[in-house]
Amino acid sequence: MASPAPTIGAGSSRLRRMGLATGTGTLVAWVVALLAFGIVWQTAELYASWAQEYPKTWMVPAARWVSAFMKWLVNEASFGLFTFTDLTRFLAALVDTPYTAARSLLSSGLLSGRGSSATQVLPPLSWIAVVGVVSLLGLYAGGVKLALLAGGCFLLLAVFGQWDSAMVTLASILVAVPIGVMGGLLIGIAAYRWPRFEEAITPLLDLMQTIPVFAYLVPILVLFGFGPTAAVIATLIYAMPPMVRITTLSLRGVAQEIIDLGRMIGCTRRQMTWRVLVPSARESLMVGVNQVIMLSLNMVIIASMIGAGGLGFDVLAALRRLQIGAGLEAGLAIVALAVALDRLSQGFARKLSQRSPASEQRGLVARHPFTLAALVLILATGLVGLAVPAVQAYPPALEISTGTFWEEGVKWININFFDTLEALKNAVLLNMLVPFKRFLGELPWLGVVGLLAFLGWRLGGWRLAMLAGVLSALIAATGQWEKAMITVYLCGVSAVAAALIGIPIGIAAAERDRLWRWVQVVSDTLQTLPSFVYLMPAVMLFRVGDFTAMIAVVAYSLVPAVRYTALGLQKVDAGLIEAGRAMGCTRWQLLTKIKLKLALPEILLGINQTIMFALSMLVITALVGTRDLGQEVYIALTKADTGRGIVAGLAVAFIAIIADRLISAGAMRAKRRMGLV
């Protein structure tokens, strides 16, 4: 060979890229770590049971501390001028006033007097008025098609007898969304302006997004009492963080030139924010608004556990009584509401970004045709409604119920396919789920903590090692280890299944435009569906249990795996693909040797998202009787046991954080190895 050196160099660098030759050092480290783990595992059972199962005497009574702290907060805490209870009362009033107004308008009518002795002074908006106004909004924001869609969705609510509950739900959404958007915007702007503030809130936001909603339902219940106010506040906590993030991100995305312009023409700070930055970023800000709406709807069911009422309550009640039909109907009503609100908000976003030349000074009627039409409609139906009840409230005689239909359908499936379904379920349970669950359950906690720390060290240095080690040790120390392992098992199995299904779909879709468009439509739709909707069909077919939970989780967490894979593949530099083709790669080689390798970081992030989705879904699957941390939180909620709820909730958050940081570090390393960063 004429020039051996470069050949070896090129070969080994390629090997390194492929992650095969990770170096002898790494190899040795891994062998040692795994050996140590094995030794701990094998010997712990006989000689050191404290390493196998966390000893009861070492437990940290975190739950008790949290409960005591809450008690102190409610009874004694004071900020000098006002007490903590004053603060919560103030917040409650802030939410309560608009909520009462919205509810009067949409559902209860204007009442005089309190409680059951209240009499209606004015009726709520008639159903015709609401459907009409929604259609008008659709017409304004997106033309006839959107008007038909939005109006149609609302009409369905009336026809299927879900009107009253739907309006209660809508009222809480109408309150939560503006507060969430405004609050998120203000916090986001503050974070953009003051980096210190951003540093302070980022970990909080991380925590808020990874911690399951259940965990803070309990303290909210204790602080604000059972009722719609508490539900709206829980919704806000859940829906606001993305708005904060999107706000800072989109403000940061404003072109430097635009900022220079603002300074050059002598804007004050306030003018800069409200006249230059926010309007320039408004398109991406609208994405945040849409997110807040969707997340608020996602919370509907969970919020009903602390008194939201409305559709969520209907679903929950039906689910508890296993009335598939009724639950499905109310569930579909939430979907209809979600679709209508989602499309409307997207319509408004588009409208904002492509306004046509302003129609200057014309008459009042010409300038505000939609507002006027809506007012006329409201007044007219209101007046007519006083005389004709059918105009005011949709006549019950015309309602259609599909409940029995669904129930018959399920019965039919169960009669005809019971054996097949049962066989499938048992096969998966016996061959996959149960063995894996048992395997995880038998692992010594000390070994797992050590292995996680080692992984953290390999992927991201000693800080990541500390994080992974300490957080997992905390899970053990607070007595959550066993339930955490069940959580990991359910989530892990589901995430693997979702990845195995999702990644091939993503690969297929990335190369075929038609298929990609379809996949986008489907995944957009799936993402509009509130997460519990996935639970319904699974329960119908497989009743309660781990398998049902797994199906629901897989269905819910599939979308990110598909999306990130396809996007990652599509982002691969076209020049590289061309180069590969010029070298004579076959399609398969192109895919495996170039595209998948370069898209690996993105795919890893997709898997990361899949895991996050799966974790957030686990809490909902607690409704079908899993025995994981989600269930723990659910029990704490029914008992209003703050400490227990928060500790279990934090354990889920810890699992999420460990998974997130490890995978992100892995993706980062992969990127660096390929010279992408």
């Binding site: 220079d260 312009l261 050059m264 023409i265 002598g266 309007p279 408004r282 030349p357």
Partner: protein
Amino acid sequence: MSLPQPKLICRNVWKLFGSGAQEFMASHPAPTLEELSAAGLVGAVRDVNLDVRAGEIFVIMGLSGSGKSTLVRCLSRLIEPTSGEILFNGENLLAASEARMIEIRRHQMGMVFQNFALLPHMTVVANVAFPLEVQGIDRTSREARARQMIELVGLSGKEDFFPRQLSGGQQQRVGIARSLAVEPELWFLDEPFSALDPLIRREMQDEFIRLQSVLKKTIVFITHDFDEAIRLADRIAIMKDGAVVQSGTPDELVLSPATDYVAEFTRNVSKAKVVKVASLMKPAGAGLNGIAINAKATVAEAAPLFAEGNDVLRVQDDAGKTAGALYRSDVVDMMMRG
């Protein structure tokens, strides 16, 4: 003849990017490029001295990354220089308070941006009126003023369009109109035509020359295009790696480039089209008669006059007084050199 007062003076201005720039500058008053890179700093602007005189077009020319944008942002104090002094009408800008800077920028400075920096949610009129809106001027008067400016840049009829409905050239006209709306004394243009294709660029340059002949502003114009610099400039400063390598009139640069770097730019320029008669003339002996040529004409314009067999032309100033003599041999010599 006394030169006009400098409107903007820039003395020993440095801008270093990177952490610890301030401390580094304090300990190294005049760092070399090597010292900077050893300290992990980027010397975007290094020891720049400039005088911009009232009413002139001062062009700053340099390749991408040479520090032009950073320098012009230092001049308007959008970027805080690491050290140095900037005097605007004799006032030290770097000592001005935030409020004073807002005041100066609102009334005395205007800026045109490479990528237009139009606000997408506003119509053309609203964009042009925006600087006035920020000052709190009422709607009718600011829109009247905006309409005047729109007419000035030749965009009448497009007042109610949104930026995305306009072509690049039209968008930059909006940017120009906006920067003129406040009647600035000092007008910064940062590569205003670089994002436009060559034909439109040419057209916009002509438009710019026309505007300046009406407005007579003091202008700092940034470009990376030497031809553009030659066409527009009264004086040019050429930048390389953050430092000014030569500054002077187009004639001076073309006739005596200070470094190879500058010579490289001027090589492909037709000198005759740049150099003014005044730069090539010799002192006139008494009693010189014959065909006259204005001292401000280019050599290329003078050349055809030699065709009638003259060996020497009488050079006169604007008032018609004899200023010198232009010899055929000098002209031929220069044309031969390219």
